[in-house]
Amino acid sequence: MSYLPYLLAVWIFLVGLFGIVRSRNFIHLVVCLSVTQSSTYVLLLSIGYVKGGTAPIFKDVKPGTKAVDPVVQALTLTDIVVSVTVAALLLSLAILGKHHAGTMDPEELHPMQG
């Protein structure tokens, strides 16, 4: 059972990639990309967990008590907020693509062949 969280991270990564490969609409593709990205958060936070440790906030807890690893939380905290704006940039590219080519389906429109 002690391996399940890492298996979840691998599962979400692969499910996200499967969604990207199979997608028929760029908006769905961007959502699958965000799902793939969230797998890295699951992995990082599961690595940092310490059994019996409290959250790394020492407001009403004595600073010496056993706590989980704060570094991975600092890494993922900013990444989550930032990933929305990157997804928004990809969505705006998709919207521009729709203006030009009239479709949002990656199958129908290919740039230069060969």
């Binding site: 958060y41 929305v84 729709k98 009239g102």
Partner: protein
């Protein structure tokens, strides 16, 4: 590793699969928010309140709005 952890992990995995398999856009937007909430639960179980708050705030305010407006733009053309 008691039952709550296992339950939240299975829930998150199932939600991720659900988001990827649906094709109707508005349903994807709702499922994406639901998937975010399952992650919030899991992060709380991992004793990561900051990250859970960040995921909650993003998953319920920023991401759905951007996604829904993009879907409306796609529909309007």
């Amino acid at each position: 590793m008691n039952v709550i952890y296992v339950f939240s992990i299975v829930l998150a995995g199932a939600a991720a699969l659900a988001v990827v398999l649906t094709t109707d856009l508005l349903r994807i937007a709702m499922l994406a928010s639901f998937y975010t909430l399952t992650l919030v639960i899991f992060f709380l179980l991992l004793q990561a309140p900051d990250v859970a708050l960040s995921e909650l705030v993003v998953g319920t305010i920023a991401y759905p709005v951007v996604l829904v407006v993009a879907i409306l733009i796609d529909r309007a053309e």
